[in-house]
Symmetry: C2
Subunit: 133 residues, 2 copies
């Protein structure tokens, strides 16, 4: 299975999980290939909007390019959406981190499994926490 298919399947999985919690979630067409700074998933409920960059990995670290993170922050700044990186490591639940929760290397950003499990929100926490808390 190619990286693109794997990514799309991960996005679909997260969209289903969000709808199961009564959030209106959808994948963004062309995210990663169009010229605009759009996230992978948009999820809304009761005037909260989540902009989500979605990653799944079998490794113990998930890298993100500086552009991916900058685009996510730009989208959030325009719209007022809450920016999140959703990461799922093997045999773990989805974890949600803000752009400022990421570690930075000289060339990119990284989420380690340890960091995600320690600092990342679970879906249940993400969708109950009001914005800014």
């Amino acid at each position: 299975m190619g990286a693109k298919t794997k990514g799309t399947d991960a996005e679909r999985e997260l969209v289903h999980l969000l709808w199961a919690q009564d959030w209106a979630a959808s994948r963004v067409a062309g995210s990663g290939s169009i010229k605009y700074p759009v996230p992978d998933i948009l999820a809304g409920k009761d005037k909260r909007l989540l902009a989500i960059e979605c990653k799944i990995t079998k490794s113990d670290s998930q890298y993100l390019t500086k552009e991916e993170v900058a685009d996510l922050k730009k989208y959030a700044a325009i719209t007022g959406a809450e920016p999140y990186i959703a990461v799922r490591f093997a045999r773990e639940d989805w974890r949600f981190l803000g752009p400022d929760d990421l570690d930075v290397t000289p060339t990119q950003f990284v989420v380690t499994k340890t960091c995600a499990l320690r600092h990342g929100k679970l879906l249940a926490e993400l969708i109950t926490a009001p914005k800014g808390i």
Copy 2:
């Protein structure tokens, strides 16, 4: 050119027009084919979110199914987005109508060109008008 390609091209055109006005717009992957009530386009700016069903036609009337309109209203009710039907008739600019601006037939909804030009907002009006006014 098939109906699906024509629809996708129309959606892309509207996405570009929205970005040109500094709105963060994107097409929704799988709208029209997935089981969830999602619109064709989502556009956000400064905490306003527009949920847009997008239609282009060479005819003088554009029909929408009752399900399309019900889904748009359902999405808006969950998220707090403003629901709009965007219609472009041949040689006219895009016009934006709310679900309650549509005419109803026994089996579906319809936007006539006359109605759209008379009651539909232009893009410039749509994006400057605060919600509810």
